[in-house]
Amino acid sequence: MRKLAIEKTETLVLTKRKERSPTQAAFRQLMKNKVAVGSGIFLILLIFVTLFVDNSLIALVTKQEIKPLIAPYHFAKTSFIENNAPPGGKFLLGADYLGRDLLSRTLYGARVSLSIAFVASSVSLVIGIIYGLISGYFGGLIDNIMMRIVDYLYGIPFTVFVILMQVVFKAFARRGQATGLMGVLLKANSSMGGMLFLFIAIGLLNWVGMARIARGQVLSYKEKEFVEAARAVGSSDTRIIFRHLLPNILGPCIVRETLMIPTYIFYEAFLSFIGLGVNPPTPSWGIMISESVQGLRSYPFQTFVPGIALTITTLAFNFLGDGLRDAFDPRLRGE
C-alpha cells in the first residue's frame, strides 16, 4: 500500500495586510482605549435618555399628550407633603424642596446640558470652519482683515460677554411683548424653556478659537500638491475649499471641538447657577445645585444627585475627547 502521504502543505498564507485609511487606523486606536470607549457608550446612553425622557419626540408625529417616558414623573410635578423626601421609596433619589422627583429632574436636566453641548459645538464648528477656510484660503488683505476682527473678539472676556447678553435677553424675555423678529425669538425661547437665548449667547463668540484653528489647518494644506493639482485642472475656489480642503481639516477641528464641550456644559451650569440660564421650572443641573446648596446641611443628596450627574457627564466628554485626540491627532498629545 502506498502510504498515503497527505501532505499538508504549509501554504504561506498571503493574506494581504488590509490597507487601512488613516481614519480607520485612528478608529482602531480609539477602540483600544477602554476608558474612551466606555465614555462613548455612556454618552450614547445619555443621548438616548435625553431623547426619550418623555414622549415629546413621538408626540411630534402622533400628536398625543406629552408625558414622561423614562423619567418616573414630570419635572415640574410637585408634591408639597413629600418635600425634601429622602432617597428611596416613591422617589428613588429623593425629592427637592418642592417635592419634585430628583431622578426625573436630573434626567430632564441632561436634556439642557446635552442640547447646549450639541448646539454650541455645532455652531462654533460651522461658523469657525467657514470663517477659517475663507480667511486662510484667500489670504492677503482678506485674511488680514478677518484675522484682525478675530483678534479683537478674542480680546473680549468671554464670560463677561455671555453674562451681559443673558442679562439683556432675560430682560426682554421678562417684558414678554415684542413684535417682528424679537417676538418670534421670544416665543421660540419660552417654548424651549429659555434655551434658545443660551444657544445664541454661548454660540455667538465661541467660534473665534475654532476660526483660528481652521485657518491654521488651511494654511498647512493649501500649499500641498493635491490643491495645486485641483487648481491645475481648473477647479473653482468653492470646489477646492469644500471638496479638497474641508475634508482634510474637518477631523482635527472636530477633535478640538469635542475637547471644548465640557466648557460649554460648565457655561450652561454656571449661567443657570447664577440665575441667567434656563427658565424655571425647566430643570438644569446648575439650577438644581444652586437651589439645593443652601440646604446642604440637612439634605446633601439634593446637591449631590445633580452634582454627580454633571461631573460624570463632563468626565465622559473629557475622556472621550482625550481619546479622540490621542487617536486622531497624536501631535496634540500633552498639549
Binding site: 473680549i156 451681559l164 442679562v167 440665575g275 446648596v293 446642604l296 446637591t303 449631590f304 473629557n318 500633552g334
Partner: protein, 324 residues
C-alpha cells in the same frame, strides 16, 4: 521690547473702549428703566421724573455715554447703585473686590504650587505609575465643576468632620494697603476650603501643561549638550529645562486667572463670602444694572490687564515672539 509693550498697550485701548461702549449700550437697551416698579411699589410720576433727572437718565444716550466715560476716566466713577440707596457702585466694589482678589489669588497660588511640581514629577518619571495616576487624577479634577466640589468639601470637611468653618470669610475691611488681609489662623481657616474648591481644577490644567512642555523640552538638543558636558541631572532640569518648559504654563495662567475670577461668582455664593461675585449675583436678581455694568467693567479691565501682562511676560521669556 519697549516697542512691543507699547504696541500691545495701544492694541488694548480700542478693545477696552469697545467693551465699555458695548456694556453701556447693552445695559441701556434693556427694556424698562431702573425706577419702573410695578403694583404697590410703583412711584408717583413726579418722583420718577426727579430720580431720572438726578441720575441723568433723560439725557440723550450719546450724552449719557460721554458723561459716563468722562466720569470713568477722570474720577474712576462708576455711578450710583440704583437699588442700594445712597451707595455708589465704587463703594460696593471697593469693599468687595479685595475679598474676591484674595480668594482668587490664593486659588491661583494653589493651582501653581500643586500643578507645577506634579507636572514636573510626572514628566521626569514618564510612564511610571505616578505619571499614569496623576494624569488620570488630573482628568477627574478637571471634570469636577467648582459648583460640585464646593458643596462636597463643605459637606465632608466642614459638616461631617467639623475641621473647618462652613462659610464666611476670615478678614473684613479695612484691608492693609487696600487689599491685603490680616494674616492669621482665622483667615486661613476660612480660606482653605473655597481656595481648594476653586483652584483644584486649574492645578490639573497646570500639571498637564507642565508635563507636556517639560517632556518636549528635555528632548531638545541643548539639554543633550548640558548632559554631555557632565552636569548633574538636577542641574540640567532646574538650570536648563525648567525655565523654558514653564513658558506655555505662563500663557495658561492668564485664562486661569480669568476663570478663577469668574469662578468666584459661584464659590462666593456657595460659601457665603461677601465678595464681588456675591454682589453680582444679588444684583442680577435685583436687576441693579448699574452694579452689573460696574462689576462687568472691573472684571473686563482686570482680565485684559492680565492678558497684557501675560503677553509681555511671554515675550520677555521667549525672544522669538517679540520679533514676529
Amino acid at each position: 521690547m519697549t516697542k512691543y509693550i507699547i504696541r500691545r498697550i495701544l492694541l488694548f485701548i480700542p478693545v477696552l473702549f469697545l467693551l465699555i461702549l458695548t456694556t453701556f449700550v447693552l445695559v441701556r437697551i434693556i427694556p424698562g428703566g431702573p425706577f419702573d416698579f410695578v403694583g404697590d411699589r410703583s412711584l408717583p410720576p413726579q418722583v420718577v421724573a426727579n430720580l431720572e433727572e438726578k441720575y441723568h437718565i433723560n439725557d440723550p444716550i450719546w450724552k449719557q455715554f460721554i458723561d459716563y466715560l468722562w466720569d470713568l476716566i477722570s474720577k474712576g466713577d462708576l455711578g450710583p447703585s440704583f437699588r442700594y440707596r445712597g451707595r455708589t457702585v465704587n463703594e460696593i466694589i471697593k469693599e468687595s473686590l479685595p475679598i474676591s482678589a484674595q480668594l482668587g489669588f490664593l486659588s491661583l497660588l494653589l493651582a501653581i504650587f500643586i500643578g507645577i511640581p506634579a507636572g514636573i514629577i510626572a514628566a521626569l518619571k514618564q510612564n511610571s505609575w505616578f505619571d499614569y495616576s496623576s494624569t488620570f487624577v488630573a482628568v477627574i479634577f478637571r471634570s469636577i465643576p467648582n459648583m460640585v466640589l464646593g458643596p462636597l468639601l463643605i459637606w465632608l470637611v466642614a459638616l461631617k468632620l467639623g475641621w473647618l468653618p462652613v462659610a464666611r470669610w476670615g478678614s473684613l475691611p479695612p484691608f492693609f494697603l487696600g487689599f491685603l488681609p490680616k494674616i492669621n489662623m482665622e483667615f486661613f481657616k476660612h480660606a482653605i476650603l473655597p481656595a481648594f474648591a476653586l483652584g483644584t481644577a486649574y492645578s490639573a490644567g497646570v500639571a498637564r501643561l507642565t508635563r507636556g512642555s517639560l517632556l518636549q523640552v528635555i528632548r531638545e538638543d541643548y539639554i543633550r549638550t548640558a548632559r554631555a558636558k557632565g552636569l548633574s541631572e538636577r542641574m540640567v532640569i532646574t538650570g536648563h529645562a525648567l525655565k523654558n518648559s514653564l513658558i506655555p504654563v505662563i500663557t495658561y495662567i492668564g485664562p486661569v486667572f480669568a476663570a478663577v475670577l469668574t469662578g468666584t461668582f459661584i464659590i462666593e455664593h456657595i460659601f457665603g463670602i461677601p465678595g464681588m461675585g456675591k454682589h453680582f449675583i444679588t444684583s442680577i436678581g435685583n436687576r441693579d444694572y448699574a452694579i452689573i455694568q460696574g462689576v462687568m467693567l472691573v472684571y473686563s479691565i482686570v482680565l485684559i490687564m492680565t492678558n497684557l501682562l501675560v503677553d509681555i511676560t511671554y515675550a520677555w521669556l521667549d525672544p522669538r515672539i517679540r520679533y514676529k
